[in-house]
Structures are given as C-alpha cells and as structure tokens.
Amino acid sequence: MRHRLDIQIGPVAFRIGSAWKEPLDALARLYEPYPAPRDGLSDFTVRLEPEKPWRRFIRPSVAIKGDYVLPDAVPMALAHGLLAAEMGMNLQMALGQKRYLLLHASSAEKDGRAIIMTGESGAGKSTLAALLGERGWRLMGDEFALLDMDSGRLLPFPRAVSLKNGAIRVMEAEVEADRFGPRLEGTPKGDIRHMRPNGEALDRMGEGATPALILFPRFGEAQAIRAVGAAEVFMRLTQASTNYVNLGGRGFDALNRLIAANPALAIDYPDTDTAVGLVEDFWRELAA
C-alpha cells in the first residue's frame, strides 16, 4: 500500500497500510512514543482502502480491511480515518487473537495487582480506567485485556484511549493537550477524541499484573454497589470475550481460575469521580 505505519501495543504488533496519507499522519502523531515492532514483524495487518478505486479521490471513503474483515461493514469518511484505523485494529484483535484470552474490558494496575472492568460500550469502563491512570494507577488498557491462560497474568494493551462524547471533557480537564488526537465529530459512534496513555503506561507496556478484582461498572445511575455471584461473572465474562469459544479447555480453566481467585463487584455511579472513590475504598479493604 501507498503509506504504512508499524506500531507495537503491549504484546501485539500491527502493520497499518493506507491509501491516504492523512489518517496515518494522525496515527503516527498519536502513537509517536510507542516502540516499533521488533525486526519489523507484525501480528496483524490493517488496511484502509477506498471502497471503489475512484473513491480514493471522489467523496473519499475509507473501507476497513485487513487480515480479518466483517461483511456489512460500511465505509467511513476520510475525516474519520483515524477512527477507522482504530476500529481496524480492534477488529483484528477481536477476530484474530488466539494466544491470549481476550476480554472486552479496561484494566488498571497498582502494586502489581490489576482491576478488570467490563461492560457494554457506554458503560463507562474506558473513562474509569483512563481516570484511574491519572490518579496514581497504571493504565493497562481501555478496550481489551489479555489473559495469559498459563500464568493467569493480565497483560497490557495500552492503545490510545477512545473517548466518547462527555468523557472527552472529563479527560481534557485532567490531561495535557499534546496527549490528545484531533476531535472527530459526527462519527458513527458520536464525537470521539483519542488520548494517549501517560509515560508510565507506555514505559511499562511489557509488564503484566496479577488480577485482583473484577468490576462491572455502570455509568449514569445512582450510586450502588453489590457483589456478583460466580455464575453471573462466568456468564458475563464469556459474553465479554470474543475468542473464548475458540480456546477450548484452556480458556475454560483459565476463566474459572480467574473467577475463583478474585472478588467481583457491580458498581453503579452518577459520575466518574464517584466511581474512582468507590474503587479506591474497595481496594483499601482488599489490601487490609
């Protein structure tokens, strides 16, 4: 392809090709401090292509292609090319990841122990993890958590955080301007702004953590907290994993070890600061 960028994110190396320069320029700025993959090898390829050859120039629209694709995918405007690149990388992980049990969850680490936060899009897990990352925790990831099925450790996937709508303002108030990508308006997911994790998260992207707490956050509700039973946790985590069904007995054993070893809580909260408080309270109790 005409333009190319290679990026290492945690244990995964991506090659992103593009027919247009602009999305890769934006991606390169956002991912500037990230390492390049060793030996130029990549695990997954993403390609941003015109849907038809002439669509490279006329009303340009970006089709997301790569090692793995989904039918019915609709091309995106060139102005949203950075988002298309992100979705392309997510797609490769969701469909192609085999080495680790993939959880659609955010995660953050403190003192070598990690919280896994999972829920539907919009539930608040990305914003909560991003905020913890600015409040003394290490952000491990906002979208995917990787569970090593042999060791039971959680591995980081500290891609640029995808902030939506209201969450953009929350993080703009906490984080310096040069860690943000452009503001993308009117995307299929609403307004989006990407935020690079801080220096500590990037420096330690090769370092895993031991899971210690499973959290089901729900944003936009009155404050509430309840323990979640093992059967419900099991059910919800299998639904939060895009590759569980492909991993057979190893996945079954790893998931059960994770659940048996760790408490699980559902928290409802009206705003992210409240959530951070709830998490810190519970974490202190756990440590005691």
Binding site: I64, P71, D72, A73, L91, L95, H104, S121, P188, A240
Partner: protein, 139 residues
C-alpha cells in the same frame, strides 16, 4: 434456572458403623418450558460498537420496492397496514433501539414493529445480517 435442596433426615444403621442419618434431597425437575442448560455462544455483541460500523437496509436490495408487513415479511407496495421501505439504511445503534421496542428518530412509530420484525427475520447471506447478529445479546 433454579435448584433447591431441602433435607429430610431419616436414619439407618450401616453394618459395623455407627448410626448414619441418611438425607434425601428434593430435586426440582423444572417445568417443561423451563431452561436448565445455557450454551456459551460466540459473542461479538459486546464489542460490536468497537469493531463494526454497520448498517441494515430495510428492506434489503432484493426487495424490489416491496413493503413490510407487521410480521416482517415482504408484501406488495401499498398493502394495507404495511410499512414502506426506509429511505436510508439503519445504523447499528438505530437497529438496536428498534429491537428494544423503541423508535429511533426519523422512523414512523406506526411502522417500527414491522421494521423490527423484518430485522429479526434476517438470515445469513442477506444484506445486514452480520450487523444484526452483532447486536444480539444472549437471553
């Protein structure tokens, strides 16, 4: 799904051993219509928003101008009670709203049920099927 245990204690003397109370547990077999086995299925629904920008044309290109009956089947244009084709495809999020019984902006509430049932009838190979499958959350 539920099971329950109650214990009725009886007793018998087992040979050579002290008196051992025997317990009979109540086993709930469940109503015929109940569900006691849930199979874990491939799950793209939770991640769908992050990986797939999709649309569902209602109806798909094969429909040739036909309208949509309240049960979701295609019927000749102008059939009484049937909904007209949508001018533009539904975005994934709009389809999700419809399937939940809500009416997304720009959709005639009278037609919402017809469109929702059309979507539910989508089969593999039809335009919009993958999008529909990605919206599914399990029971």
């Amino acid at each position: 799904m539920s099971g329950s245990d109650k214990e009725a204690v009886g007793g018998e003397a087992a040979e050579g051993r002290a008196f051992v109370p025997s317990r009979r547990t109540v086993l709930v077999l469940g109503a015929a219509a109940a569900s006691t086995v849930i199979t874990v299925r491939p799950a793209l629904a939770q991640t769908a928003g992050s990986v797939l920008n999709c649309e569902i044309p209602v109806p798909g290109p094969h429909a040739g101008g036909n309208y949509i009956a309240p049960d979701g089947n295609l019927v000749p244009p102008g059939t009484q009670g049937a909904a007209p084709p949508l001018a533009r495809p539904l975005r994934g999020e709009e389809a999700r709203q419809l399937l939940r019984g809500n009416t997304p902006p720009g959709v005639n509430p009278q037609s919402a049920q017809a469109y929702a049932n059309y979507i539910r009838r989508l089969q593999s190979g039809m335009s919009g099927f993958t999008c529909y499958a990605s919206l599914q959350m399990p029971r």
